[in-house]
Every structure is written in structure tokens, then in C-alpha cells.
């Protein structure tokens, strides 16, 4: 535990040093990677450990984003309080949904969460207090002055996002190694056997859903921070798709893998942009190439390495040994 804490602090320090040495765009992308890492860890906890599929993590992120923006805009107060509220409200939402989800098996749960991912942006469009299509502003403010005049806005985003990512990954990894993580894996492997061993399967599933939603909500608030607003257009079905892809690439049950998944998710638009420009750069190419790459990656990885690229290497290693 103490060793891990030291590791995380060291990691944070290294990331800060890197953040000082690269240009603005990379710093901004660093913040995005941190955001995706948080979001992916929520899927790892839910799908990789407790065995429940959620295709609607984008919707959970939307709940967190809107909660943070509404808190900051209406109640004011310090920025950290908005993030706390994002976690709290999405946990509440997740607990409510989890109560229904815990009784559902695979296809029903997948369909229900997909329905949520399709529908939640539509709902946000319909209500005035959620700002409609343009959405709500979410401004975490300028970096504190004592950090110096050189300190840019993007670097401030990067600091906040990295800090939150490390904090949430630290907490998540401890949860997964605790009694709860073990129980979830038992439920995933054989829920009947788990039940006979005295595990409250339903209660544990709801707990997993709640924690996972809380983490996703935090990611949603971080996403809102990096683009300075919450709008239906930010939490689309495409975001949920991308998250599922990232999670499969990360190896659904590996927490360190989320950093790899997050890196790929941030790299895809970059790669698509380069390719689109090279291939003539018409509008359709720019709009749909990233989605094409995401889908192809998702299909290939789910067919050939459904448990993540890491698992393939590991199992080969075992066979040799």
C-alpha cells in the first residue's frame, strides 16, 4: 500500500516534469489521456471485474459533467466542490440504475445501457435548465497566480486532470485488490457458486455499478473542464463506442492497461487527421475516418484478442513455460 502510494506520487512527479517540457498541444492531449484513463477504469471495474456490460458509459459521463456544471454555475463555490458533486450525483444515478441492472443478464443490460447512451443526449436537448443544444459553460477558472505568468490554461487543465486520474486510479486499484475486487471476480466467474459461498450477488453488483458510475462521472466532469462546457454533442454514442473500444484494447480486466487504451483513443483522431489530409482531405473523410478506425480496431481486437493484447502475450508465455 505504501509502496504503491510512493509509486503513484513518483509517477505524478514525472508527469509534471514531462508537462513542463512539451508544447501546448501535447499538454492538452495529456489532459485528454488522463480523462480517458479515468473513464476506462470505470469500465474495467464494471465489466472486467463484476462482469456486467455497460455500453452507456458516455451517458454516465454526461451525468457527471452536467452535475459539475450545474453545481459550479448555480451554487458557485470552489472548483473541487463541483468535481465532488459530479462524483456524488453520478454515484447516486448509478445506484438507482444498478438496482435495475443487477437483475439483468447480458443482452438485457447491454441493450438498456445502449438505450441510455442513445437517449440521454436527447433528454438533455429537451430541458431548458440543461442548456439545450449549446449546453452549459463549465469554467474552472485561471490557474492560481503563484504558479507564475508562464503557466498556461492548458497546463492547469493537465495538472488537475492528471491529479484526479492518479487519485482515482490509486483508489480504484485498492478497491480492486480488496475483498470487493475478489468478490466481484467470483461473481463474474460463477455467480451461482459465489451466491452459495454467502456473497450477496445483487448487492455487490449494485455496488460495482455505483462505484463505476461515480468514476465515469468524474471523467465526465474532467471532459467538461477540458472543453469548458457541457453539451449533448460532447457525450454522444460515439464517445460510448470509443470507450468500449479503449476498454477492449486495454484488456478489459487490467487496470494498468487503461493508460494504453487512453493513449490509443487520443492517438486515433491524430492519425485519422494525418491520413485524411494525405488522402485528399474532403469533409466526409475528416468526419468519418476516426469512427472507421475505432470500429475496425474494436472488431479486430474483439475477434482476435477479446481479453486485450496483453493476455495473448501472457498465455503464450504460459504455454512455453
Amino acid at each position: 500500500m505504501r509502496k504503491k502510494l510512493t509509486l503513484f506520487i513518483l509517477l505524478g512527479w514525472i508527469l509534471l516534469l514531462i508537462g513542463d517540457r512539451v508544447d501546448e498541444l501535447r499538454v492538452y492531449q495529456g489532459a485528454q489521456i488522463a480523462m480517458y484513463a479515468i473513464a476506462l477504469s470505470s469500465i474495467v471495474l464494471l465489466t472486467g471485474y463484476s462482469g456486467q456490460v455497460s455500453l452507456g458509459n458516455g451517458a454516465m459521463m454526461a451525468v457527471g459533467g452536467y452535475a459539475a456544471a450545474l453545481t459550479l454555475n448555480n451554487l458557485g463555490g470552489p472548483v473541487w466542490f463541483a468535481f465532488v458533486m459530479a462524483v456524488f450525483v453520478s454515484a447516486l444515478f448509478g445506484a438507482f440504475l444498478g438496482a435495475a441492472a443487477a437483475r439483468l443478464s447480458g443482452p438485457y443490460l447491454a441493450g438498456t445501457t445502449l438505450a441510455l447512451a442513445v437517449g440521454l443526449p436527447e433528454i438533455a436537448n429537451q430541458f431548458d435548465f440543461l442548456g439545450g443544444v449549446p449546453g452549459l459553460l463549465f469554467d474552472v477558472g485561471f490557474p492560481p497566480e503563484r504558479l507564475g505568468e508562464e503557466f498556461t490554461q492548458y497546463k492547469w487543465f493537465f495538472w488537475i486532470a492528471t491529479f484526479l486520474a492518479l487519485l482515482s486510479l490509486f483508489i480504484t486499484s485498492n478497491i480492486l485488490q480488496s475483498r470487493y475486487g475478489r468478490t466481484w471476480r467470483a461473481i463474474r466467474s460463477n455467480s451461482l457458486a459465489a451466491e452459495l459461498s454467502g456473497v450477496h450477488v445483487g448487492r455487490m453488483k449494485i455496488l460495482a455499478f455505483t462505484i463505476s458510475s461515480a468514476i465515469a462521472g468524474l471523467a465526465g466532469a474532467v471532459l467538461a473542464m477540458t472543453i469548458s462546457l457541457v453539451a449533448p454533442g460532447a457525450y454522444t454514442l460515439a464517445l460510448s463506442f470509443a470507450l468500449v473500444t479503449g476498454a477492449v484494447l486495454a484488456g478489459v480486466s487490467s487496470l494498468p492497461g487503461v493508460v494504453f487504451g487512453a493513449l490509443i483513443l487520443v492517438a486515433i483522431p491524430e492519425v485519422a487527421d494525418v491520413l485524411a489530409t494525405r488522402w485528399g482531405g474532403d469533409e466526409n473523410l475528416n468526419n468519418y475516418l476516426p469512427g472507421l478506425i475505432v470500429s475496425v480496431l474494436l472488431i479486430l481486437s474483439v475477434i482476435f484478442t477479446p481479453n486485450g493484447p496483453g493476455e495473448k502475450l501472457k498465455s503464450r508465455h504460459h504455454k512455453k513455460g
Binding site: L55, E122, N284, Y288, V302
Partner: protein
């Protein structure tokens, strides 16, 4: 009273489009045990092909038939080239259970991107085969139009055709047998793999009709069938995901219920209404309205 009747009739027309989508989902679920989210993509692709025919020839019915054929071909192709490969890599491990459903999601994304690359994101429309102006009785014009009537009639004819295929032909018998007990069906000499591909083709064709009819009264874009997929899924769940009759009943109930919400409460609550119906059915009657005390899931 008049508004009540109108709402009911328009709900029937909306619901009958949902019925096609939910039948397509149920057909695939029964044979493959996968909720095929790519169904929206397959329907979209066949509708775009139908759109091309409709704009060139201006004959809606020809476009519809081509869309059905395209849908069937795409459906069979998805099963033959995609699902078979997926199941051949039958996997173990934490992702094994979720792999097929995630794969269909990836396929939906793939079709969407390809359609976007070819046709772009702007809204397209297909000229409706019948007037969209409401019927006029005496002095009043109803919102219920000849197109709505035509949709109901078309769907009804397709349902009859499906019923004949499933109840009266050898193909239907083998489709039902391989869905009900694949191993026994195989022992009885049915080529289950091929039958399954035919099932996917039928589902694809039905999805193509759903896409065309939805587009005739609406518009077409790479995202325009997402809600149809969701409502089709909800309808299938109302029917218990196993039963074709159940899913049609579920779709009509859902269509009428949502139209009532639309006309009497407002647009903002339509989706929430559908979601509430879904959650309510899952919690209260998880085996669907057609279940006869048989427990299927733990």
C-alpha cells in the same frame, strides 16, 4: 374523442415500423443468442441503397424490393463472414460473454462510418409513395395520412408473409427447430449453420423494410435509425425477446403509448417514456408479456 382516435391510429403506424425492427432483433436473438445492434447499421445500409434506386427511378416499390434484397444479402454476409469467424475464435476469459455483443456494436460503427464516407452526413429524403397530407373527413383534416395507412398495410402484409414462412413451410420448420434445439435439429438432418444464415438474411430484409418505411415518413442520415433500434429493442423486450408475436404486440403497444405521450404530454418526455417502459418491463415482467410461467434466466 377525435384526437384519441387519431393518436391511436398514428401510434399504430409508428408501432408497426418498430414491429419490423423488433422482429429482426428477435429472429437473430433466437438463432444466435446475440442482440444484433448492427441491425440498425444493416438497415441503414440497405435504406441508402434503396434511396439511390428511389432517386434514380422514382419508383418507391422497386426501391423497397431492392432494399429488402440488399438487407437480406448484408444480413447473410454478416453472419457468414463475421459471426462465424467470431464464434470460431470462441474465447474464454472475462470478455468471452460480452465479445459478440461488443462485436455487433463495432459493426454498427463500421457501417455508419462507411455510409458516412460514401453518402456524407447530410439529411436525405425519399419521396413517399403516398400523400403525407392527412385524410379529410367532411371539413376537418386529420394528421393520419394515406402514408400512415400504407405503412400499416405494408407491415401487415410482411407479417402475414413471415407467418406463412414460419408456420407453413419446411424452411420455417427448420428455422424454428434450429432456434429451439440446435443440436437435436442437427441430428435430425438440418444444416443448422446454413439455416442460421438464412435467418439472418430474413432479419436483414425485414430490417431493410423498417429503414425504408421510417425514411419515407422521416429523413435519412447515418444516425437516423438509432432511435428505431432502441425502440425496436424495447419492443422485443416487452415481448420477451423470444417470441415474434410478442414482439409485434410489444411494438404496437409501445408505438401507441409513445404517440399518446407525444400528443398529450410533449416531445420532451417521449424518450423518457420509452425508457421507463423498458425498466418497468424488466423489473416487473422480465420474461415479457407472453411468458407462461416458464423461467428462462437465473
Amino acid at each position: 374523442m377525435q384526437k384519441l382516435l387519431e393518436t391511436f391510429l398514428i401510434g399504430l403506424s409508428t408501432g408497426s415500423i418498430y414491429a419490423l425492427m423488433s422482429i429482426a432483433l428477435v429472429l437473430v436473438w433466437r438463432s444466435t443468442r446475440v442482440v444484433n445492434f448492427a441491425q440498425a447499421g444493416q438497415a441503414m445500409l440497405s435504406t441508402y441503397i434503396g434511396f439511390e434506386i428511389a432517386t434514380r427511378t422514382e419508383i418507391f416499390w422497386l426501391a423497397l424490393i431492392i432494399a429488402i434484397a440488399a438487407g437480406a444479402l448484408v444480413g447473410a454476409g454478416v453472419d457468414y463472414f463475421f459471426m462465424r469467424v467470431l464464434f470460431k475464435h470462441a474465447v474464454s476469459g472475462p470478455a468471452a460473454v460480452v465479445a459478440p455483443v461488443i462485436a455487433t456494436l463495432g459493426l454498427l460503427g463500421l457501417v455508419r462510418s462507411i455510409v458516412g464516407l460514401v453518402w456524407g452526413g447530410e439529411f436525405k429524403s425519399i419521396k413517399a409513395p403516398a400523400s403525407t397530407d392527412g385524410f379529410t373527413i367532411g371539413e376537418t383534416t386529420l394528421p393520419f395520412s394515406p402514408l400512415n395507412l400504407l405503412i400499416i398495410v405494408t407491415v401487415f402484409i410482411i407479417l402475414i408473409a413471415l407467418a406463412i414462412i414460419f408456420q407453413r413451410t419446411n424452411l420455417g420448420l427448420s428455422l424454428r427447430a434450429s432456434a429451439y434445439a440446435p443440436e437435436i435439429a442437427q441430428l435430425a438432418g438440418i444444416r443448422t449453420a446454413r439455416t442460421r444464415t438464412i435467418g439472418w438474411a430474413i432479419a436483414g430484409g425485414v430490417g431493410g423494410v423498417a429503414g425504408m418505411l421510417n425514411t419515407a415518413s422521416n429523413f435519412l442520415s447515418p444516425y437516423s435509425l438509432d432511435l428505431l433500434l432502441v425502440f425496436g429493442f424495447i419492443a422485443a423486450v416487452i415481448g420477451g425477446l423470444e417470441s415474434m408475436v410478442g414482439s409485434v404486440v410489444g411494438a404496437l403497444i409501445l408505438g401507441i403509448a409513445l404517440t399518446f405521450i407525444l400528443n398529450y404530454v410533449g416531445t420532451s418526455l417521449v424518450f423518457i417514456g420509452g425508457f421507463v417502459v423498458l425498466i418497468a418491463v424488466l423489473l416487473l415482467k422480465p420474461d415479457g408479456i407472453m411468458a407462461r410461467g416458464k423461467v428462462r434466466r437465473a
